[in-house]
């Protein structure tokens, strides 16, 4: 029983780390109205992962992360190219880009199935349940704990430093990009940086929750928090709390129903989202009455 608890803790802890990284980036993606670009990136990194895998021969290689990072940036560039040079509207550009890159990824997986220890299911919903047995073992034979947990910790540190360092710039360019350009802030570099962080986070979390479900952690907690607050700081805090709650509840529900942990995390996120929609609507209905009175009074 003791060991089980420790496993549960490791899984929940890692899932929370991933949810926090995704949520932090997701807040800014949402505010930039780029949620679907985030979705596109999370699909598009797949061929990069597979190629990195083929080059390095292992999914632990740095090549995998580099490959995915390159593909993530390639996806944003391709969306841009389609929009500006081929003059395709933005949403269609996103759709064309991510389906093509994802399709190539799946073909590569199928073609090199004998060499790549990745299957279509891992792409879909990850293997966080196996996390406690996939240990990081040093050359001296000492076990340092789950490998994916360390990846998630490193990822969170990098995401946190990116956001703390560029908080001011991210905030400004998300609100009013043109004003940012005018006052001399390198807006496109900031944007590219954010996209790179999203790609990197997708890869780093991909083994745990799958490429497609990453996007749920990227999008749903920020959207839920946005229903409750109009303060950036609170929005971020609430996103993080939701991310942790999702990991905790998702794990135990998956355990109860014997199903995918990642899938259940998303389901819980969805439930929290829709409950929030209901509650905030109820709240605004009450508030709306008093606001109307105030308006009538002032005019």
């Amino acid at each position: 029983m003791m060991t089980f608890d420790q496993n549960a803790f490791l899984i929940i802890f890692t899932a929370s780390l991933i949810a926090i990284s995704c949520g932090l980036l997701g807040v800014f993606m949402m505010l930039r109205k780029m949620a679907m670009t985030g979705d596109a990136i999370s699909h598009a990194v797949l061929p990069g992962i597979v190629i990195g895998f083929l080059v390095s021969g292992t999914q632990r290689g740095l090549e995998v992360i580099v490959g995915a990072g390159i593909l993530g940036i390639l996806a944003t560039l391709m969306i841009d190219w389609l929009r500006k040079k081929a003059r395709v509207q933005l949403d269609a550009s996103i759709g064309i880009t991510f389906t093509l890159l994802f399709a190539i990824g799946i073909i590569l997986i199928s073609a090199f199935a004998y060499r790549v220890d990745l299957d279509q299911e891992c792409v879909l919903y990850g293997e966080i349940a196996y996390l406690p047995i996939d240990l990081w073992i040093t050359d001296a034979g000492k076990s340092l704990g789950p490998r994916i947990m360390w990846l998630a910790i490193l990822n969170l540190i990098l995401v946190l430093s990116f956001i703390t360092l560029f908080y001011k710039e991210l905030k400004l360019t998300s609100f009013d990009e043109k004003f940012g350009v005018v006052i001399g802030i390198p807006a496109s570099a900031i944007n590219l940086g954010l996209m790179s962080m999203v790609s990197y986070t997708t890869v780093s979390s991909f083994e745990a929750v799958g490429a497609i479900l990453v996007v749920a952690l990227l999008v749903v907690p920020p959207a839920t928090a946005f229903l409750w607050t109009r303060q950036l700081r609170q929005l971020i805090q609430l996103t993080l709390i939701i991310g942790i709650a999702v990991s905790l509840l998702g794990y135990y529900l998956a355990y109860l129903l014997d199903s995918s942990i990642a899938g259940m995390m998303v389901t819980v996120a969805g439930i929290i989202f829709f409950v929030s929609v209901g509650l905030t609507r109820y709240r605004s209905k009450i508030k709306f009455g008093t606001q109307n009175e105030a308006k009538a009074f002032s005019s």
Binding site: D39, K85, A92, G95, I107, A216, G263, T267, A269, V277
Partner: protein, 430 residues
């Protein structure tokens, strides 16, 4: 090769069924997708296709097998719910549309994954059949499926053709439709149902994750070839059918390959060809036209320079003198001279370049346009004489005879430009 012949001769009835099914569903999805592409709702189809997964799983759980009626029923239910939620959230929250689509898409897909893993662990042997909804397996289409999916496709195509005008208004100008008294709300509802149905049948071949491509890419590619709606629809359908059949063929020859990704790759390839090579809108075509235009401006400059020399009493220019005027474009000027000589606009005599009669006419036209535009800028746009030259350098190559006539009447057939130079006409001499 043998495989190829066997496949495309359709000797095998089951292959014939599959191809027929793919053709029908390709037409259906491409038609619906083209409309939603024109409606700027390309990603709604993506959300719906992901959102269908839980419905398919529920249908499977209820039926206990891969029964098309249950699966289609479940898919329509969850697709419908997702569509409804998307528009409800848009009206009732302050979330932006892309966030809403991303939320609906990922939450429904997550729930679908939960169902899928539950079914998987139940040990039902039919489970394998369910997995192919994710990445598509057209080869799996059997006769019974064909009846229902083919029937649905024909239904979609029928409704779209029957209500073409209404959907056209919906996409291009819904307010106008409202003003005409058309029930736009109901038309949108019908259209949303068609999207859901198109997705339900489309995922047979391509799977839920990549279904968006079958909706978006054919229309986006076809848009490069035509501006007419009917041609657009037909082309989109052709693209979808071609990629559908080839995708099926590949997964027929390589059984470990799912169909969907190949359909998408072939579709994207067709789209890339369209972006590059389509006449008028294609990138290469635009590039080629620009190049041709720049060549023409260079020829114009040569003619103009010789004419101006003539104005100053120098009837011919040497190559050195000409390239001296355009020191950065030596090679281009040489090419232009060759070209103009071939066209009979100038002739070269002992290294001196001189205009022929038609060459002089053309040179006069260019100089005339240049000076007319300068005068127009000066008189109508208050631009100082020392600022008008650069603009005229560009417009002299562009102005059409109609605009020339308009300029002449506006300026009342002027004799001099703002620099007091004569505006040459066809019949006067230098």
């Amino acid at each position: 090769m043998e495989d190829f012949l066997y496949f495309f001769s359709f000797q095998d009835a089951s292959i014939a069924f599959v191809v027929l099914g793919i053709t029908l569903l390709g037409i259906g999805s491409a038609f619906v997708g083209t409309f939603s592409f024109l409606d700027n709702k390309a990603l709604l189809g993506d959300a719906i296709s992901h959102a269908i997964l839980p419905g398919i799983c529920l249908g499977f759980m209820l039926a206990g097998e891969k029964n098309p009626f249950f699966i289609v029923g479940g898919a329509i239910a969850s697709g419908g719910l997702a569509t409804y939620l998307t528009s409800w959230l848009k009206d009732n929250t302050k979330l932006s549309e892309d966030s809403i689509i991303a939320v609906v898409l990922s939450v429904f897909f997550g729930i679908g994954i939960v169902f899928l893993t539950i079914i998987q662990k139940s040990g039902n042997p039919e489970m394998a059949g369910l997995n192919q909804f994710i990445f598509g397996n057209a080869i799996g289409i059997v006769e019974r499926d064909l009846w229902i999916y083919g029937g649905l496709s024909i239904g979609i195509i029928g409704v779209l053709v029957f209500m073409l005008k209404e959907f056209q208004i919906l996409v291009f100008n819904p307010d106008f439709g409202k003003a005409l008294g058309l029930p736009m709300h109901h038309i949108r509802l019908v259209f949303n149902i068609l999207i859901i149905l198109a997705v339900v049948i489309g995922i047979q071949a391509i799977g839920v994750v990549l279904m968006a491509a079958l909706l978006i890419t054919p229309g986006a590619a076809a848009r490069f070839w035509t501006d007419r709606l009917k041609t657009l629809l037909i082309l989109a359908a052709v693209f979808a059918i071609i990629s559908g059949i080839f995708g099926t063929y590949i997964s027929y020859t390589l059984p470990q390959m799912p169909t969907g990704p190949w359909v998408v790759v072939i579709l994207s390839f067709i789209a890339l060809l369209s972006f590059l090579f389509a006449p008028k809108k294609g990138i290469l075509f635009r590039f080629y036209h620009r190049k041709k235009y720049i060549d023409k401006t260079q020829r114009d400059h040569v003619l103009k320079s010789i004419y101006k020399a003539e104005e100053l009493g120098k009837p011919a220019l040497s190559l050195e003198e000409l390239t001296h005027i355009y020191p950065h474009q030596k090679q281009a000027i040489k090419n232009s001279i060759k070209e103009l000589e071939k066209e009979g606009q100038l002739f070269i005599n002992q290294n001196l370049i001189k205009l022929t009669k038609p060459g002089k006419m053309e040179a006069k036209r260019i100089v005339r346009l240049h000076r007319l535009w300068e005068l127009y800028l000066n008189e109508y746009m208050n631009i100082a004489p020392d600022h008008v030259h650069e603009s005229a350098e560009k417009l002299e190559h562009l102005l059409t005879p109609e605009l020339e006539a308009l300029l002449e009447t506006r300026l009342n057939f002027p004799r001099l430009d703002p620099h007091q130079e004569t505006i040459p006409r066809d019949h006067d001499d230098i």
